[in-house]
């Protein structure tokens, strides 16, 4: 499988659209229900962060396949204000929006790999991968 698809995040409902598409893709790749829930939840958290903090952005999915393993890469990109202190947002319970502060540290636990690049005034890109076991 070699394809990439993206969902633009512009309105709140796009959060649901993104996680539904991500769940469909992960099911097609062969993930079980628990990992599908982990992937859908991850997408929901990333898409909501875009909506809340940047306003607009996109979430892209890519099916990964090499010799002996399959997986999914999810990349969330926005042109928002960027994150001032990444170590702070990776702390459990840190929030500026009145939420639970579970989003990013939670996503890191749900996925197998987690990368974040953020530049102030330019935007944020978060890339995560989940491998099929």
């Amino acid at each position: 499988m070699d394809f990439q698809s993206c969902v633009n995040i512009k309105k709140e409902w796009d959060i649901v659209g993104a996680r539904q598409l991500g769940r469909d893709i992960s099911r097609k790749i062969g993930f079980g229900t628990v990992d599908q829930a982990r992937i859908a939840t991850t997408i929901s958290e990333l898409a909501r962060n875009i909506y809340l903090y940047a306003g607009t952005g996109k979430v892209c999915f890519e099916a990964l396949e090499d010799m002996n393993k399959k997986g999914i890469r999810i990349v969330a990109t926005d042109d928002g204000p960027g994150i001032q202190d990444i170590s702070q947002v990776m702390e459990d319970g840190f929030t500026t929006s009145g939420g639970l502060g579970a989003g990013l540290p939670g996503v890191k636990r749900l996925m197998d790999s987690f990368d974040i690049v953020s530049t102030e005034e330019e935007g944020t890109e978060i890339s995560v991968v989940k491998w099929l076991r």
Partner: protein, 118 residues
């Protein structure tokens, strides 16, 4: 989209059967509190059997509605949380510790009756 709230004697029953977006979740919170107010219900069961994702936002809305209902004098029990949802919530770091839960609707009603008799 509105989530239907059914009244049965002193209880309110809700079965969430859609993929919850934020707006629907907030609307549900308001609807439930108004319904508790106008019906005088003392117990509420929110069945989540058909919900296959609870992210941090939905978890917060659900946790809050339990606390808010409690403030008004109605006990809420969440029922039917799926295995995949429970595992994902714990990975997210959300424990919903003060939230009463039960395996299914039937157990939820039993739990409510016990709590209300205490």
């Amino acid at each position: 989209m509105r989530i239907p709230i059914l009244k049965l004697h002193n209880y309110l029953l809700i079965s969430i059967q859609i993929d919850l977006d934020d707006q629907t979740a907030i609307q549900f919170q308001e609807d439930l509190l108004s319904k508790i107010h106008e019906s005088g219900a003392t117990g509420v069961v929110i069945d989540l059997t058909s919900v296959d994702i609870i992210d941090s936002f939905i978890a917060k809305v659900l946790g809050d509605v339990v606390t808010m209902s409690d403030l008004m004098g109605a006990k809420v029990v969440l029922t039917g949380i799926q295995p995949a949802v429970a595992m994902t919530l714990i990975d997210l770091g959300i424990h919903l510790q003060d939230v009463p839960t039960a395996l299914d609707l039937e157990q939820g009603l039993i739990k409510l009756r016990q709590e209300l008799e205490e």
